[in-house]
C-alpha cells in the first residue's frame, strides 16, 4: 500500500477518470451501430473493393458514450465558467440556437435541392444579410466564408478584383498596410494573395498614428489597409476616419477585421467610418458556438465600391422566388463548395432576433463596461500599457511588467488561473505588448463573476510577489503542464499502438 492516501489503486481520483484513446479499447466483434449485413451479390466497384482491414477499433455504444462523456469532462467551456479569452468573444451560447438549427427544414436539406424547395432557407439567408447590412451600414454581404480568416481572404480578393478592374495601372498595387498588433491571419491572408505586408508600428497609445499612416500610405503602391477596430490592444482607433481617408486617397481600400465587432454592435456602423470590407465572426459577436475550434462563419460586408465583386453563389430574386446565382461576370470567384455555414446562419439569426436592436446595443455597452471595470479593478496590480490612452473597448489589456521581479511570467499566471477554476485570458497577444494578457469578459458575465475574477487575479498577483510556486501550476487540472517541445521535436500525430 502506498503511504500517500491521496493515491488510489486505479490512479483515478473520484470524478477525475483517466480515459485511453479508442484504439486502446478495441473489442473486435463489438458493434456501436446495427446496420445489417448486405446479402452477397455482384458489386459494381470495378475491381476497386478495399481488401483487408481498415484498422478502426470496435466499441459498443455504451463504451463510446462513456468515452466521449469522459473526454468532455476534461474540457473547460463557457458553460463551465468565465472564459475571458481576448479577441475571441467567448460569450454565452444559447441552447435555443442549437434547437432551431436542428429543425429538419434547416438541417435536413441539401444544398443542391431545387430552389423551389428551399425558399425558407434562402429567405433566412436574406434576413441575415438584412441584419448585417443594417448593423454595419454596408450594402453588400457575402455569406459564404467559413470563418474569420476565410472572410479576410474573401474581402482581400474582392479588393484585388476591384483594383484589377480599375485598370492595369493597379497591377502594381501590392502593399497592404497592417499594424504590428494585428492578428496573425491578417498578414497571412495578405501574403497568401500575393500582397506585400507593410507593418505599421504601434504608436504608444495602442493605436495607429495617423500621421505615420499617411506617410506610409503616401509611399505608393497601396492596395489596402487591414485594420482591426476596436483593435487588438483593446482600444478604439479614434483616427479611423483619417486613416480611411488616407488609404482611399492613396487609391487603396480599407479592410476592417471585424473580430471585435462585439464592442460596437448596435452603436457604431463601420460603414460610417469609411470601411470597404469587413468580416464578421458569427462565432464571436453573434454567439455561434466555438465548438472547440470551429465551425465558425465569416460573412463579409462590402461597401458600394466592393459589393459588385462579391463571390458566388449569391442570393437574388424576390421573396418566394429567391434564387442562387452561381455565376456572375464581376464576382471574383467562389470560396467554398456550397452557400456557406447555414447552420451558423440559423443560430446567428436566432441570436439577433432574440436581442433585437435594443438588446444588441446593450450587448456592446455591457461588454465595454465589463472590460473597463476589470481594467480599473486590476490596473494597480497588473500593469496596463494603454490604460492611460482612453477607455478600453470590450477587452482589458495587461502586460507582465508588474511581475518583473517575481520570476512569474504571463504564462504562469495563466496556468495558475486554471487551478482557480478560471479559463486563462489570451496571452502573448497582441505581440506589440510584452507578456500581453488580453482579457475579454464579454457581456454575458454577472458582476459577481467579474468580482470573483478580480479577487482571484489580485490574489494571484499577491502570491506571485510572495514567491508561490506559480511556475509549476497547474496542479489541479486533468493534466500538469504539457511538454510542447517534445511534441514538436518528435511529432506523434496519430495513434500507433498501445503502451508507448
Amino acid at each position: 500500500m502506498s503511504g500517500d492516501f491521496h493515491d488510489t489503486v486505479s490512479g483515478d481520483l473520484g470524478l477525475r477518470i483517466e480515459e485511453p484513446p479508442i484504439f486502446e479499447q478495441d473489442s473486435p466483434g463489438a458493434l456501436g451501430v446495427d446496420w445489417p449485413e448486405t446479402e452477397a451479390g455482384a458489386d459494381r466497384l470495378g475491381g476497386l473493393a478495399r481488401s483487408g482491414a481498415i484498422g478502426l477499433p470496435s466499441l459498443a455504444e455504451p463504451t463510446v458514450v462513456r468515452h466521449y462523456t469522459r473526454l468532455s469532462q476534461k474540457n473547460y467551456g463557457i458553460d463551465t465558467g468565465l472564459f475571458p479569452l481576448g479577441s475571441c468573444t467567448m460569450k454565452h451560447n444559447p441552447r435555443l440556437n442549437e434547437r432551431v438549427a436542428r429543425l429538419p427544414g434547416f438541417a435536413d436539406i441539401h444544398p443542391l435541392q431545387p430552389e423551389s424547395t428551399v425558399q425558407g432557407a434562402l429567405a433566412l439567408c436574406r434576413e441575415l444579410q438584412r441584419w448585417l447590412t443594417v448593423l454595419t451600414g454596408m450594402p453588400g454581404v457575402a455569406l459564404t466564408p467559413g470563418a474569420g480568416a476565410h472572410g479576410e481572404l474573401c474581402g482581400m480578393m474582392a479588393i484585388r478584383a476591384a483594383l484589377d478592374a480599375g485598370g492595369a495601372a493597379n497591377a502594381d498595387r501590392k502593399r497592404v498596410l497592417v499594424p504590428d498588433s494585428a492578428h496573425g491571419t491578417n498578414p497571412a491572408t495578405a501574403a497568401a494573395l500575393g500582397f506585400e505586408v507593410v507593418s505599421i508600428p504601434e504608436d504608444g497609445r495602442g493605436r495607429v498614428d495617423p500621421g505615420r499612416f499617411e506617410a506610409l500610405a503616401g509611399e505608393g503602391g497601396v492596395a489596402a489597409v487591414m485594420l482591426t477596430n476596436p483593435n487588438t490592444c483593446g482600444v478604439f482607433e479614434n483616427d479611423i476616419r483619417r486613416i480611411a481617408d488616407a488609404v482611399h486617397e492613396a487609391g487603396g481600400y480599407f479592410y476592417c477585421d471585424g473580430a471585435n465587432f462585439n464592442a460596437i454592435v448596435g452603436r457604431v456602423r463601420p460603414g460610417d467610418l469609411g470601411v470597404d470590407a469587413m468580416h464578421i465572426n458569427l462565432h464571436k459577436t453573434f454567439s455561434t458556438p466555438h465548438g472547440g475550434g470551429g465551425p465558425g462563419s465569416g460573412p463579409v460586408v462590402f461597401s458600394e465600391a466592393l459589393a459588385p465583386f462579391a463571390p458566388v453563389p449569391r442570393i437574388v430574386g424576390e421573396d418566394g422566388a429567391l434564387r442562387l446565382e452561381e455565376a456572375n461576370g464581376q464576382a471574383f470567384g467562389r470560396m467554398k463548395a456550397f452557400h456557406g455555414q447555414m447552420g451558423m446562419f440559423v443560430r446567428a439569426l436566432a441570436y439577433m432576433m432574440s436581442h433585437g436592436a435594443d438588446g444588441l446595443r446593450q450587448v456592446s455597452g455591457d461588454a465595454v463596461l465589463n472590460a473597463n471595470y476589470l481594467l480599473r479593478k486590476l490596473e494597480d496590480v497588473y500593469s496596463a500599457p494603454f490604460a492611460h490612452a482612453g477607455p478600453a473597448m470590450h477587452e482589458a489589456l495587461f502586460d507582465d511588467r508588474a511581475l518583473k521581479d517575481t520570476g512569474v511570467s504571463t504564462l504562469d499566471i495563466a496556468k495558475a488561473m486554471i487551478d482557480e477554476g478560471l479559463h486563462p485570458m489570451t496571452v502573448y497577444f497582441p505581440l506589440v505588448v510584452h507578456g500581453a494578457m488580453l482579457v475579454e469578459p464579454t457581456e454575458t458575465e454577472t458582476r459577481a463573476s467579474l468580482d470573483r475574477f478580480v479577487a482571484i487575479m489580485r490574489g494571484l498577483a499577491e502570491r506571485a510577489h510572495d514567491g508561490a510556486p506559480l511556475t509549476e501550476a497547474p496542479f489541479h487540472a486533468p493534466r500538469r503542464r504539457l511538454d510542447e517541445t517534445q511534441a514538436a521535436r518528435k511529432p506523434v500525430l496519430r495513434w500507433r499502438g498501445a503502451g508507448e
Binding site: S72, L112, G294
Partner: protein, 439 residues
C-alpha cells in the same frame, strides 16, 4: 433581456466604481457623429417562444429530405446520424470550448482530435492528417497550394470530373495567388487521360474518387506518372463513406488526400458547416495547412495531447504561414469521430456495403440509362430530356430525384444527365418510386 445578466443596479455601481458618468462615455474615442444615439432600425428583442415560432415557419417553407424519396448527392450526402452523436457534441464542455490553446483544460478536445487524425489516416491510407479544414473544397484548394510549396512549382492539372465547385474554389485561389490551374472538360463516363498533361512545371494532378459522375478508377498509374515528373497526386473525396468499401487513395500513391467528411456525423444542412479532411505524407508534414494535434507528456510524465508544429500557422508564422486558416471545423470533426467510432471496422464496412447495394439495386432497375460503369453510391443517369426540368417536376410530386448535371456544368451540353445518390436512408420504396418516376 435573458442573455444579459448586468442589471441597471450593476451598471450604475460599476460606472461609479470606474468613475465613468455613463456607458456612452466609454465610447468617447468613437469619432464625432459615428456613435448612434438610438437603436438601429431592426426589430426589438423577442422571447424564445417567439423566435422559435418565426424560425420554425421559415423552416417549414423548405422541403426536408426526410419527407420523401431523396437522391441528392454531388458533395453532400444524407446519412443516418446516431442519436448519441448529437447528444455528445452538444455537451457544453465540447460545444462552448475554444481552440485548445490551454491544453491542461482541453484534453477532451485534444484527445478527440488525436483520434480524429488517426481515423482520417486509416480511412485514406495516408500517414498524417490535420485537425480539419472548412470543407472539402477549401481542403482541395489548400492541397494545391501545398503541392505548389512542396514542389516549388505553380501549375495544377485538374481532372474535368472534379466537382466544379471544388475546381472553382481552387481556381479562385489560383487567380489571386498567381498559379496556373488547368482543368479538363467533364467526361461523364470517365476515361480521362491526365497523365499526358503532366509536365515538368506541374506541381500536382488533382483527381476525384469517386468522381463527380460517380466513376471510380484506379489512380496508381497516374500517381506513378506524376511522381516520375516530380509532381504530386492530390485525390479528392467528396463521399467519405466510399472509403469503407474502396481501396484507399493512400494505397494508390496519393500524396495528399483532400476530402469532405460531412457524411459521417454531420447533417447536410444546406451545405454547411461541412468538414474538410486533409491527409498527407509524413515527409510533407511541415508544409501542411491547419492545426495538428500531437501526443506528449505532462510534468508528471502522464500522456497528454497538445496542438503542435504551430510554426506552420498564422498565429506564429504570420505572413510566412502555410495557410491563413484559424477557426476550422472542430465540432464537425468531433461528430465525425464519434460516428466513426460507433461504426467501427465492421459498422463502416456494412454501412458502405449497404450504400453500394442500394445504388446497385437502383442501377439495375435503370439499366442502360446508367452512364457510370463502376460506382459506389452515386451514378449518372441519362434521361430522355432535360434533367433539371425532370427534377423540378418530380419535386412537385414529392421526390427529390437527384442533382441535374446542368446545375453544376451549365451550358456544357450535359443537360440530360442526372446524378443520383443512394444511401442507407433510402429504402426499397424510395428506389421503386424513383425507378418508376424515371421510366
Amino acid at each position: 433581456m435573458r442573455y444579459l445578466p448586468i442589471t441597471d443596479a450593476d451598471r450604475s455601481g460599476m460606472l461609479q466604481a470606474i468613475g465613468a458618468p455613463s456607458v456612452e462615455a466609454l465610447f468617447a474615442d468613437v469619432p464625432e457623429g459615428a456613435l448612434l444615439a438610438e437603436p438601429v432600425d431592426l426589430p426589438r428583442h423577442a422571447g424564445e417562444f417567439e423566435v422559435e415560432r418565426r424560425l420554425s415557419r421559415l423552416a417549414a417553407r423548405n422541403r426536408a429530405a426526410g419527407a420523401g424519396p431523396f437522391f441528392c448527392g454531388a458533395g453532400s450526402y444524407r446519412h443516418h446520424i446516431p442519436a448519441a452523436v448529437d447528444y455528445l457534441i452538444q455537451r457544453g464542455e465540447f460545444l462552448t470550448s475554444y481552440t485548445p490553446y490551454q491544453p491542461e483544460i482541453a484534453q477532451g478536445t485534444l484527445q478527440y482530435l488525436f483520434e480524429f487524425q488517426t481515423q482520417v489516416c486509416l480511412l485514406t491510407g495516408m500517414e498524417v492528417a490535420n485537425a480539419s479544414m472548412y470543407d472539402g473544397a477549401t481542403a482541395a484548394a489548400e492541397a494545391v497550394t501545398m503541392a505548389n510549396r512542396v514542389t516549388r512549382r505553380s501549375k495544377a492539372v485538374v481532372s474535368g470530373n472534379l466537382h466544379p465547385h471544388y475546381r472553382d474554389t481552387a481556381a479562385t485561389l489560383a487567380r489571386f495567388q498567381g498559379f496556373a490551374l488547368e482543368a479538363g472538360p467533364p467526361m461523364p463516363a470517365g476515361g480521362e487521360d491526365l497523365a499526358s498533361r503532366i509536365d515538368d512545371e506541374t506541381s500536382c494532378v488533382v483527381v476525384q474518387y469517386p468522381d463527380l459522375f460517380g466513376n471510380i478508377s484506379d489512380f496508381s498509374a497516374l500517381a506513378e506518372a506524376a511522381h516520375a515528373k516530380g509532381a504530386l497526386l492530390v485525390v479528392v473525396v467528396t463521399e467519405i463513406v466510399a472509403l469503407g468499401a474502396l481501396r484507399p487513395p493512400g494505397e494508390m500513391g496519393a500524396d495528399i488526400v483532400a476530402a469532405e467528411g460531412q457524411s459521417l456525423g454531420n447533417a447536410m444542412g444546406f451545405g454547411g458547416p461541412h468538414l474538410g479532411l486533409f491527409a498527407a505524407r509524413t515527409r510533407h508534414m511541415r508544409q501542411m495547412p491547419g492545426r495538428l494535434c500531437g501526443e506528449t507528456v505532462d510534468a508528471d510524465g502522464r500522456r497528454g495531447y497538445v496542438l503542435t508544429l504551430a510554426t506552420r500557422e498564422q498565429h506564429i508564422r504570420r505572413e510566412r504561414a502555410t495557410s491563413n486558416i484559424c477557426t476550422n471545423s472542430g465540432l464537425c470533426s468531433l461528430a465525425f469521430t464519434i460516428h466513426l467510432t460507433l461504426l467501427g471496422e465492421t459498422g463502416l464496412k456494412r454501412l458502405a456495403a449497404l450504400n453500394h447495394a442500394g445504388a446497385v439495386s437502383l442501377a439495375d432497375r435503370l439499366g442502360a440509362r446508367v452512364v457510370t460503369p463502376a460506382f459506389f453510391n452515386e451514378f449518372t443517369v441519362r434521361l430522355a430530356g432535360d434533367a433539371a426540368g425532370a427534377v423540378e417536376q418530380l419535386a412537385g410530386e414529392g421526390i427529390l430525384a437527384g442533382v441535374p448535371v446542368s446545375r453544376l456544368h451549365p451550358g456544357a451540353g450535359l443537360d440530360d444527365l442526372l446524378l443520383v445518390a443512394v444511401t442507407e436512408t433510402t429504402d426499397e420504396e424510395d428506389l421503386a418510386a424513383l425507378a418508376e418516376a424515371l421510366s
